[in-house]
């Protein structure tokens, strides 16, 4: 069995350039944690005193989207381009409503974090954002949770990442909700790193619920971002 | 002098004979042609016959073939469900003009678009027979029925549905679409054979509308019945193969 050490010779990391602004789009499998990663990333940048806009590009889901959290996140100082719960009508059966402002998201000043919903067309959703693919700043982050059956082994992860189109970096987000353990996360992320190495795609970070901060005994070689899970409260 | 026994198709189910269709009804002719075709093709054991509600319902145990009876208009999806699950079976849906063109039209239309590999036979007698002679999608302009007592007014209810014509528009070239009449038996047999062959060869959707007679609800004697069929119906609804993968088609 390959060890984490062995991987480290092949796995490489994504470092966000010190550009004028950060533009990141989070894509990935259904329920892989795209919105969660996008929210946490936006808040992280906000804490650095930056001007951050969070964009809802989830065209599939009425549930578990940023929309229900819009007001809460705006109180934290983020600009959120999404319909709020009150502004939605009939959920358009369902989420297939794009806030017109999202189309022009890149015209916003400051950092842009985009939460892209799932779907067989993958990152193509970014076609809906004016100028996205021409943007030199755009980085597409694929979020992968090894506990999701469709990305539950190396073969499936590879197939899935390949189906997404352009991917600039991978976020390893293995978890099992309330039943997450450090071991489970490590084991799952190890598989994700192996695939990333094989595909030559860098790892941006691995996500770890802040509740597990104390359970983490050793320092992990691959950068960990502690995240707070907002989405369980996002049910309509 | 003894009676000459009529030739009964092998695929008919004898315990259900004599059948219960009215004297002069065209269903018996269609079902005889279908029975002979099933015999000729040797497919009795592979056929699943499905019948709709309406007079076509009376065929639920007509054949010595596995048969199932459905709801009004829903024979098409039941046949599609069987065929999609067991492609080796030969599914024959049997329905009237109400079931096919009215209450079940969305199923007919969409199964045609999907080129489902089923054979549907639709009997057009210009009225709802079993419920007592109401107006059907195929009722001719001016024709009196219980719900068009002063004759079908096309300003109010539109023109009769030309089913095979619209199905031909919806289907690819591998489909088979024809309109037959009980007044031309040999042609009817040929069209039914082609419709079944088309399914057996896995080509695509196969649809035959058969112009038929309903003396009971038309309140016509034998001569008048035949006259209405040949002079009125066949004039309005052209007979022939509208789309066929087998040669040029019989116009």
């Amino acid at each position: 069995m390959l060890t984490l050490f062995l991987f480290l010779q092949e796995v490489f990391f994504f470092t966000q350039q010190n550009t004028a602004r950060v533009v990141e789009a989070y894509v990935g499998e259904y329920a892989s944690g795209k919105s969660e990663m996008a929210i946490n990333r936006a808040l992280e940048l906000k804490k650095q005193g930056r001007n951050v806009t969070l964009v809802d590009l989830d065209t599939v889901e009425p549930f578990y989207t940023l929309r229900t959290l819009k007001n809460q996140l705006e109180k934290k100082g983020l600009k959120v381009l999404a319909f709020s719960r009150e502004q939605s009508f009939g959920l358009g059966e369902t989420g297939a409503m794009l806030n017109p402002a999202a189309r022009w998201a890149l015209w916003q000043e400051g950092d842009i974090i985009m939460d892209v919903g799932y779907g067989v067309l993958g990152a193509q959703t970014l076609n809906l954002v004016e100028g996205a693919y021409d943007s030199p700043e755009l980085k597409i982050m694929a979020v992968v949770n090894y506990s999701r059956p469709m990305t539950g082994n190396r073969e499936r992860i590879k197939k899935y990442i390949n189906s997404l189109g352009r991917v600039d970096a991978i976020v390893a987000n293995t978890h099992m909700g309330d039943e997450s353990t450090v071991d489970l996360i490590k084991e799952g992320n190890r598989e994700i790193f192996a695939v990333a190495a094989e595909l030559g795609i860098p790892i941006f970070f691995q996500a770890l619920d802040e509740k597990l901060r104390d359970a983490l005994e050793e320092s992990w070689e691959i950068p960990v971002k502690f995240i707070k899970r907002f989405m369980p409260a996002a049910i309509w | 002098m003894g009676m000459i026994a009529p030739a009964i198709p092998k695929s008919w189910y004898l315990p259900s004979k004599p059948h219960k269709f009215c004297p002069g009804c065209g269903h018996g002719i269609v079902l005889k042609a279908l029975g002979e075709t099933i015999d000729e093709l040797g497919i009795q054991d592979q056929v699943v016959f499905g019948c709709d509600i309406g007079c076509s319902l009376l065929s639920w145990n007509f054949f010595a073939c596995d048969s199932t009876q459905t709801h009004h208009g829903r024979t098409t999806p039941v046949m599609v469900g069987i065929k999609r699950s067991r492609p080796e079976l030969i599914t024959i849906g049997y329905m009237g003009d109400g079931g096919g063109y009215s209450i079940g039209s969305q199923h007919l239309l969409n199964s045609a678009v999907r080129n489902e590999k089923v054979t549907l036979i639709l009997v057009n007698n210009t009225n709802y027979g079993m419920t007592g002679g109401q107006m059907a999608p195929t009722t001719l302009p001016g024709q009196k029925t219980e719900t068009s007592p002063f004759g079908r007014d096309v300003d109010l209810t539109g023109y009769p549905t030309r089913g095979p014509e619209f199905i031909a528009e919806l289907t690819p070239d591998s489909a088979y679409v024809a309109r037959a009449t009980v007044s031309k038996y040999k042609q009817l047999r040929r069209f039914l054979r082609n419709a079944l062959r088309n399914q057996m060869e896995g080509n695509g959707f196969s649809f035959v509308e058969v112009l038929s007679t309903c003396p009971t609800n038309w309140r016509t004697n034998a001569q008048q019945t035949w006259h209405f069929l040949e002079e009125e119906m066949e004039q309005y609804f052209p007979i022939g193969e509208i789309k066929t993968p087998f040669g040029k088609g019989d116009k």
Binding site: G90, M176 | G81, Q106
Partner: protein, 362 residues
């Protein structure tokens, strides 16, 4: 059949995905469906998985067609299913009725949304009456109301088996919350849990030469005489009643000394469970009763639970305006326990809603 899961595997998924995986594990062969929220991901995942496992799928023109194609598929001997919600469930009552009349082993998943009419696409428990007693018949059906993703997985497998064993149309009644929530569950191959999958068999398209090896099958659902139909319906009723004792499932907690029993089903029972724990900690003698089968209903067990102490009150909590309440009252007719209710149609119920209600009526 190839194994679906290499090992019993924990997964983090939504309820809709759990249906698709469980159907696969149960050996389902074909799905027919029509898009409606909140059940769409059942189809999304079935269609992703189908080619990999040699399964069939057809997106039909509407829910009538989805229901009737399933009727056809099961008649041909294939394990088929569909999933729907709300107005789709209304349309499917027609094919469900045919399945009832012809005793077809149809299995359907219902993810309840708000009603009446288009309502909301979110959540409700307002399809209880429709799913248990919809159609122009007598409700000779089997209805499992699940509360967790693990149950969605378990009862999907069980549902296919019940349908094919008893030949009454069988339903898994979920809701929008269960459809979309994400939680861990264990997915398994039924055989490895000692669950034997009931063998399917055709009702039409049988083996053998007609007239030599066998008689032709003539299935019908229409009768000429009142008496003929009467015989059939009475026979179905007797059979449905006879199998009820082995079918009924329920969950009961803390009813031995309960002054008040909280009755709920589906996802609301999770709130009721929490509420009872909190109330008990506060010294209030609350009990919990949850029918898992809404049809047949565990009426004997509920009567026993009520009469144990006996309880003074029965609080019926549901995200509908009295559908579980009506079902319960007809089942426990004659009991003198005072029945109170917490009706929140189309709205989620949390533990505090129940606790506040309990405190207001004790």
């Amino acid at each position: 059949m190839p194994k679906i899961f290499e090992a019993n595997k924990k997964a983090f998924i939504t309820g809709n995905e759990a249906v698709a995986w469980a159907a696969l594990a149960a050996g389902a062969e074909i799905m027919f469906g029509y898009p409606i929220t909140p059940q769409n991901e059942v189809m999304h995942y079935w269609t992703r998985l189908a080619p990999e496992y040699g399964k069939g799928f057809l997106q039909t023109e509407d829910e009538l067609s989805a229901g009737f194609t399933v009727c056809g598929a099961v008649q041909s001997g294939k394990k088929a299913f569909t999933a729907t919600a709300g107005p789709g469930n209304v349309l499917m009552q027609e094919p469900f009725g045919m399945a009832e009349a012809m005793r077809l082993p149809l299995f359907a998943v219902i993810q309840q949304r708000g009603g009446p009419s288009s309502g909301t696409v979110v959540y409700s428990q307002q399809e209880v009456t429709l799913t248990t007693f919809g159609g122009n018949g007598e409700g000779h059906r089997i209805v499992y109301s699940t509360a967790t993703h693990q149950e969605i997985f378990d009862y999907t497998i069980k549902g296919f088996n019940a349908a094919w064993k008893y030949r009454f149309p069988t339903f898994l009644l979920g809701d929008g919350y269960q459809a979309k929530m994400r939680e861990p569950l264990e997915m398994y191959n039924p055989e490895e849990r000692g669950i034997e999958m009931v063998k399917t068999y055709p009702l039409v398209g049988l083996e053998g030469k007609i007239g030599e090896d066998r008689e032709p099958q003539h299935l019908c659902n229409i009768y000429s005489l009142e008496e003929e139909l009467y015989e059939v319906v009475m026979k179905f009723a007797a059979e449905h009643e006879a199998i009820s004792p082995e079918l009924v499932e329920y969950e009961e907690k803390e009813c031995e000394d309960a002054e008040i029993i909280i009755l709920s089903h589906g996802v609301v029972s999770r709130a009721a469970d929490d509420a009872v724990k909190i109330l008990r900690a506060q010294g209030i003698k609350a009990g919990y009763f949850r029918p898992i089968t809404l049809r047949p209903f565990p009426q004997k067990q509920l009567r026993e639970a009520i009469n144990r102490r006996p309880a003074r009150k029965l609080l019926i909590a549901e995200s509908a305006y009295g559908q579980l309440d009506r079902l319960t009252k007809q089942e426990i007719y004659g009991e003198t326990v005072a029945i109170e209710n917490l009706f929140m149609p189309g709205v989620g119920i949390i533990d505090y809603d129940i606790i506040n209600k309990v405190k207001s009526i004790l």
